[in-house]
Amino acid sequence: MIRKFAALLLLAGIAAIFMGLLFTYEPDPELNTTARYYAERTAADIGAANIVTAIVVTYRGLDTLGEVTVLFLSAAIVGLVLASGRRKKTAKERTVTPAGELLATGSTLLAPLIMLLGVYVFVNGHLTPGGGFQGGAIIASGMLLLLLTDPLKHFSHTLIATVESLSGILYVAIGLLGIFLAGGFLDNRILPIGTLGTLFSAGAIPLIYSLIGLKVGAEFSSILAHLSETEEL
């Protein structure tokens, strides 16, 4: 009881701070300086129609590299935590209810389409909403559908690790290429910018975002594969 009371007291304090923030909040009437710079210069400098993509991939590209690294670390630690308890083969074989015919047939039909949609989303990241992170999550959702149909399915860890490290290395290599051929690390102008709104525009952004998409998809898939290989307790 005292625990609940203390929690409520703490929450009352946080709620008071939030009330102060909420009632003194005044929306800006205009964009601030940074945002106006991005809004005015993106079309000419980067050539990407989606300004969020331009910020994520180019203006703040270094942050994205760090973010992908954090995601890689979390996937690796999930593998480490779950693998250190892996038993010997004496544990009894898991038995699961097999999937119904609807799910089995539907997933074989739908999983490739979902993965294709993921590829579409990250290739068109500079034109439409979406990009590497969304596309990677959609690819992992396709793997998830296969896993839902047959929870005992084994994905090849070698393939996942190869895709992941290859795309990571290529991502950094393209970033380094920017130092020599263009303005700096992860500059997208190593390829021609092209006309705004076409698929082959915005320099290296489609290439970089595709690599990010593959890397994120491989990381999520490795989390799913590690979790699916745990045993029932």
Partner: protein
Amino acid sequence: MALIAMAAGFILILIGFYGALTNRNILRMIVAFTVADTGVNIVMVTVGYLRDRTAPILDNAVPAADAAARIIDPVPQALVLTAIVIGMGVTALMLAFAYRFYEKKRTLDITKCTELKW
């Protein structure tokens, strides 16, 4: 509209904290944490919203010439984009630890974890 959404975000954060503080079941704490996570993301997106403006994507509806007068602030969106992905990674990590905890203790009750008590 932005104020309503911001209030919703703050209330979600409070509900999530309450759940994480009062529950003993470790899985329920993680669920409450994801609710609070969503609330934080909503508040951050709301800060970048400006009245009567539209999404920062240039097309026929928003030509590049008058973009600065028509679009909302894109920087918080880029921030939240990565925050959601990291949040999913953190949730997976917490779930892996919950699994290991159950494997060791055969319970999900966090108060049974007494190694550091003295």
